[in-house]
């Protein structure tokens, strides 16, 4: 089971990357408005057919 010594730290690195990207997205204000993007997707290809 020595593989644990590699796999667990690797998992932690991935967790770190996930948290890091969430923090990045939050800093960029991507969670400031949670309503409009959900609606905007409905209008994306209107008028561009």
């Amino acid at each position: 089971m020595e593989v644990l010594f590699i796999v667990v730290p690797l998992a932690l690195v991935i967790v770190g990357a996930a948290v890091g990207s969430f923090v990045w997205a939050t800093r960029r204000g991507q969670f400031d408005d949670l309503e409009t993007p959900a609606l905007r997707i409905l209008t994306d290809d209107v008028g561009r057919r």
Partner: protein
Amino acid sequence: MTTTFPERRVSEDASAVECLCAHCALPVPAGLVVDGVEHQFCCDGCATVYEILHSNGLTAYYELRDEAEGRPAATTAHAYREYDDPAFAERFVVAEPSGDASIELYLEGVHCVACLWLIERLPELASGVREARLDIARSVVHLRWGPDEVPLSVVARWLDRLGYPPHPYRATSLQEARKREDRRWLMRMAVAGATAGNIMLMSFALYSGAFFGMAARYEQFFRYGSMLLALPAVFWAGAPFLRGAVNALRTRTAQMDLPIALGILVGFASGVVNTLRGAGDIYFDSVATLIFLLLVGRRLQQRQQRIAADAAELKHALTPLHARRVEEGRNDVVDIPVMAIVTGDLLEVHPGESFPADGIVEEGESQVDAAVLTGESRSVDVGRGDEVHAGTVNLSGLVRMRAEKAGLETRVGQLMEAVEEAARRRAPVMSLADRISGWFVAIVVALALLVFVGWSTVSLSEGVDRAIALLIVSCPCALGLATPLAIAAALGRAARAGILIKGGDVLERLNRPCTFYFDKTGTLTEGGFRVWAWYHRPGTEAATLAARVAGIERHATHPLARALVAHAPEGPEAISPDRIEHVMGKGLIARLDDGQWRVGAPAWVLAGAREDSWCRRKLDEVVEAGATPVLVSCADRVLAVIGLSDELRPDALSSLVALRAWGHEVEVLSGDHAGAVRRTAERLGVARARGGATPEDKLAIIEASERPAVMVGDGVNDAGALSSAAVGVAVHGGAEASLAAADVFITRDGVEPVVELVRGARRTMRVIRRNLVFSLVYNVVGVTLAATGVIGPLGAAALMPLSSLTVVASSYQARTFRKPRR
């Protein structure tokens, strides 16, 4: 700026084919139907938008739009020239490094996906606009444009012509700080959640190791791994709780953060000791989960509070921001932003607009509604040389005024400064959960010591283990969630019922016996006038006299005149306008076949008529009662004495009765004349009433109140009182300034929502108590089991989510605030 639409009427003849507006799909009034044209419009606004959409290939708007939703386009004729003023740019526009400029504008009339689509197509319509991004929940559009290519006024006119009149809206530094705080809180939640989940995974390995055996080096590996992950969870994500606890200790006040921090730190410390020791339980998983759940709970409460505060601030953006300055010499009138007004400017104010500055009238005559500033229900006549104040409303005539004071120096500006001052002075109130937490910590620590001493007789290490298990089990997760969740759920329900509450503590304050101070004009009364007393001379007939008075008054614009017209049961008599003469500030003269009639102010009417004992008696009666007197005379005989007063809201009496039934005291506190206030109070059965109160008086009375004061009002003159009261409630239709000052504002009409507010607060408090009892019972059971050694850490970990779930369910199923049944 208001727009008048042609009146829209549904065709009375049901068989007639209804002609629908091509833009908004509402029926087109018969008078506006143009024969032989395919597309018909209900108003100019709709026609404009339709034309723009068709000539720019944006007809997809109609596909996106919700068919059922019909509302006419709210375009105005405003030119938005003040948007190009340097003073405006300095206040609202942000210059970007790329040379572009950006601004946030609050838009009226945004309601659906089609609006979103159309507004974000703005760059296709107005060249020079780089980007338009709409936040639909707040109706705020973020615009980026090239200031050298297109002036902002042109962009604003485009938005207006599309049916979304813009209002500048600048995020204050407070809001910026709030946004940063929100983001940081989200990051804390992310860190706490991710570490909690991963520590849990390692704990699983450790637990199974405890059952099936595990090599010591793997066990240590997982212990150290958990500890590493717990570090950021405790010291960064959990920092708000630790900091709160330190503050509580420093100020020697009990606070919910105290037992939470105690649980976190004891769990973490014993985990570290056991890790270093290489034996025993580590509590990192419980600690990280606890932090995560508590962060979520507080976030929910904050979010609801922000929604209410945001709504109040956006409403504030609707305050008109432009003034008309007369360019003397050129005889031209230009729009300028109010920030650009300087002393000595000559300003033009149209009927229906509010005065932009304090100053002196130079030209024109009008009536001014100063209720917002003074609480006075009667309008004041102004003419050349009279003083007018910013914020008061010009009712009837075009007026030119010389500005003497602008901005913060005006009466309104100074009142707003008093509001901020009062808000700073307000003492914080300790919540129920905080009060409990003090006892909680004391009891838990005492118990832990007891357990330690008890088990130490068996063995020292056993004593330490038991005591720590007890401290962890009693960790007040459910207790910490009990209040925030109940409040978050209640605030959400209240918002749906039309009551926006900016702070959860309001709900607790309303549960103590309070004194409610009601403003009169616009709060207990509608603000409009009504005939309250009508005395006609014996021998004349009431109905014909009423019709005659209504016929004369129909030609006047005065607010009192409307009440007299409405009073005639059979409608006003037809009187030709060329027989009427207006005497400004006095009344009307009508030259009719049976003589000269006068309707108006007593002193003026009596100057041309005999005053006898009947007339004097009735007049005294009316004045005594606090009503506004109006006399009617024909030739030299006074025919009628009329008393007018502002109309009581229909739900005022029943609402006050309900409040008193809960043990609250009710008083009336108004800036209107003492007599009128006293009479209103008598009709409502209120013993204590104070009239003629200046804004400063109101503030002083609120601050001197023995019981916690609840101020209910609508005007700028109430704003100071609203912000210094324990709870300030701004009612529907109130001045924007009062919304900013109040803790609660109501988006429904009437006094009844105030009752619903108190009722909802009582129900919420019941939910909070129930939650606290639940979590305390859980703790008592858990502590007992841990102290006697029946459950180990595993059993405690299983009990914890159960208690939290109970609290969540109990908070969200409770029907605290209810929508009115219609």
